[in-house]
């Protein structure tokens, strides 16, 4: 009874705290500019199914894709077990689904156990890739400090969680074989779990009853506390991608990657020169700045992108400028965007719901113009992202701000602009000579 109360209190506080932080993240995302991305629902759903559920783009790199798939599928399937733990915790039962489900239950737990072993292998391999093999994209300078610790903490937590599962199931197997488990005795001699029926007796075969009950409870409580902890760690971690990866792919850009947005506010200025009957598309009273200086100038999708990024660095390792030693790193663009957005969110929280100007901005204090001007707009980063994040859009929007609001661009580009304006070509040739090639 006492354990039920403790459990319920834990459940309520963990859910409440998560809910509060999730709401903050939603609020932060909605600080972005409004855009409509609710067209073409079928295609969007299909994209989410393929890219997020199906992990389609992960398989561009088969080895990490398979390792990741172990963790991913174990995570998805474990939710069934979690449902039982929560039900047991509230009602004070032990393995409440077992009697009702019978063979299906044994199969489900066995399947989870096999996936957990695979996930264990995956986790060890991921730790090794980060800390021993030092895969370049996982050890770059931009990951120093919190990002690196964050990644390792999650992997270690994953290992601990898996250990708790096997403590719980293993001890219960031994108890069951002695007729001492709290699980309903179906007279089968073993609970029949694929891994624990062997692992349990091997580890705990000689343990006394009291010790076994303690191990089983440590496993059970440890497991659920890890889950609650993990849930509440998510909003502060790159690991949020396990949730946001799904909506982020749903709201993917469905157009050709080469199509950049058209600024209606600019069209409203330019079009009347060509069409006197042109009707403005934007309201001049709601004039926004051209391009992006700070996170509030980005669209909510850009901000969702930032929270969805798990810092895998596939974008950066595909970036031609980063490969050749330039400062630009698309991953850093996304990390900076999220960090600045978190800062803006904290500012709002500290000032009773309104943002108080802090003299900082995403462009300048986080992202430098050197990074922005290095981009080839080649879309390699966009292509590489396993959950369709678009760092390129942010870069181009910052160029727009620099050029159209600040007139700050590399001087060679000023030459290119004036050639274009005067000669209709980016070089200094006379427009009258444009067709000379045909006579040469």
């Amino acid at each position: 009874m006492i354990s039920c109360i403790i459990f319920c209190l834990l459940l309520i506080s963990a859910s409440t705290y998560f809910f509060i932080n999730a709401k903050k993240i939603k609020r932060n995302i909605l600080l972005g500019r409004k855009i409509k991305l609710n067209d073409n629902k079928n295609k969007r759903f299909k994209t989410m199914l393929l890219v997020a559920f199906g992990q389609q783009k992960m398989f561009a790199k088969p080895i990490p894709a398979i390792l990741h798939f172990f963790l991913y599928s174990a995570f998805i399937i474990t939710q069934i077990e979690l449902l039982e733990i929560i039900t047991d915790g509230i009602t004070g039962h032990h393995r409440i689904f077992r009697e009702a489900l019978g063979g299906i239950y044994t199969f489900a737990v066995s399947f989870i156990e096999i996936l957990s072993v695979l996930a264990f292998i995956g986790t060890i391999a991921f730790l090794a890739r980060r800390n021993l093999l030092k895969i370049p994209r996982l050890t770059m300078n931009e990951l120093n400090g919190w990002p690196k610790l964050d990644a390792n903490l999650i992997l270690i937590a994953e290992i601990v969680l898996i250990c708790f599962i096997f403590m719980m199931n293993g001890a219960d197997e031994v108890l069951y074989s002695r007729g001492l488990s709290h699980a309903t005795n179906l007279n089968e001699g073993s609970l029949g779990f694929s891994i624990s029926r062997h692992l349990g007796p091997m580890l705990y075969g000689n343990f006394p009853e009291g010790g076994l009950h303690v191990i089983e409870r440590i496993g059970w409580w440890g497991h659920i506390i890890m889950v609650f902890g993990f849930l509440n760690y998510l909003p502060f971690s790159k690991h949020l991608h396990i949730v946001l990866g799904f909506p982020n792919t749903y709201y993917s850009n469905l157009k050709q990657k080469g199509e950049f947005t058209t600024l209606d506010s600019v069209t409203d200025v330019v079009a009347p020169n060509f069409d006197p009957a042109y009707v403005a598309k934007t309201n001049p009273n709601n004039a926004q700045r051209f391009g992006v200086k700070d996170v509030q100038d980005l669209t909510w999708k850009n901000l969702l992108d930032a929270y969805s990024c798990t810092e895998c660095g596939r974008c950066t390792s595909a970036c031609p400028q980063n490969i050749t030693g330039k400062k630009l790193s698309p991953r850093k663009i996304m990390m900076d965007t999220r960090d600045r957005l978190t800062e803006v969110g904290n500012n709002i929280d500290a000032n009773n719901g309104t943002f108080v100007e802090d003299g900082k901005s995403l462009l300048g204090d986080y992202i430098t113009t050197e990074e922005i001007w290095a981009c080839n707009t080649c879309n390699a980063c966009v292509e590489a992202c396993p959950i369709n994040i678009n760092p390129l859009e942010i870069i181009v929007e910052m160029r727009r701000y620099l050029v159209m609001e600040e007139s700050q661009n590399p001087s060679e580009l000023t030459n290119m602009f004036s050639n274009l304006e005067n000669n209709g070509a980016p070089w200094q040739f006379s427009p009258a000579d444009r067709a000379n090639w045909a006579k040469e």
Binding site: A60, G325, K326, N376, N379, R399, L413, G424
Partner: protein, 271 residues
């Protein structure tokens, strides 16, 4: 098709102007959008002429805008100058809509991408193909017969232009044409959707690179040259410049030529 003429190399090109055709009451089947590079850059002019040779050879009724053509605005747009981009775009759109243009072939993937994907939002709606797509179409329709000629048996590696490949998912058209030349088509590790940029895009063509440890075109040329090809085939005048410079960087210009797919077709078939 026109076999008496096709053997004459450097024959007089027929390059009709849109304004002349319209004045005669004729309508071309397709507008050839030459682009700035194809109009002014000495190396790229050869690609333009190769495309014209192909168009002349199949007797397709085409026209160019000539002096009425202006930059699509692509470099301005990629560099963040949306004002300048839209000025250029609307100017071009009003010219093309005035001529009731329906179909366009471009000699450059940047023009292709901008006109095809970005002009519709400003009132310019056309069917736009890149020249490799047009050549593929002509071959498939049986209008253009292609032989390997001097390239037969040679090793050719194709470098994907970002604005043709990733930006518009056109990967097969250039490869299909190259394979018609009876050559060995080699692939770099980074190709198609994973292709590496030549370094020119995003207005980088018009400025110095930021501080780093290598030029992008050197990185890319190195990758292509590792396959020891006879030809690095490209489909973009800017890639052409970058790859040519990259090959020169390694002093391999004797062994490895950088040629546009249109040049391969025109040269191999003495068009």
């Amino acid at each position: 098709m026109d076999n008496q003429q096709s053997s004459i190399i450097n024959q007089q090109l027929k390059v009709p102007f849109m304004s002349e055709l319209i004045a005669k009451g004729e309508t071309p089947e397709i507008l050839f959008w030459v682009g700035c590079s194809g109009s002014f850059d000495d190396r790229a002019k050869k690609i333009t002429k190769a495309i014209v040779r192909i168009l002349n050879h199949v007797n397709i009724k085409f026209a160019i805008l000539g002096t009425e053509e202006g930059c699509t605005g692509d470099p301005a747009k990629r560099a963040g100058n949306e004002f300048l981009y839209q000025m250029q775009a609307m100017q071009n759109i009003s010219v093309m809509n005035g001529y009731n243009v329906k179909k366009i072939v471009t000699g450059c993937p940047h023009c292709f991408n901008t006109i095809k994907n970005e002009y519709p939002a400003l009132g310019g709606n056309y069917e736009v193909v890149h020249h490799t797509q047009l050549v593929q179409e002509l071959i498939n329709q049986g209008k253009l017969k292609v032989q390997g000629g001097e390239f037969k048996g040679k090793k050719i590696v194709f470098h994907d232009p970002c604005y043709l490949g990733r930006a518009n998912n056109v990967y097969e058209a250039p490869r299909e044409i190259i394979q018609k030349l009876d050559v060995e088509l080699a692939e770099m590790k980074r190709s198609k959707a994973n292709g590496l940029c030549c370094g020119a895009g995003g207005a980088q063509m018009f400025k110095e690179a930021e501080k780093g440890n290598k030029e992008v075109n050197v990185e890319r040329a190195e990758e292509a040259l590792a396959l020891n090809p006879d030809v690095i085939a490209v489909g973009c005048p800017f890639c052409n410049t970058m790859m040519t410079d990259g090959v020169k960087h390694f002093n391999k210009e004797e062994k490895t030529k950088v040629l546009d797919v249109a040049e391969l077709i025109a040269t191999a078939n003495d068009l």
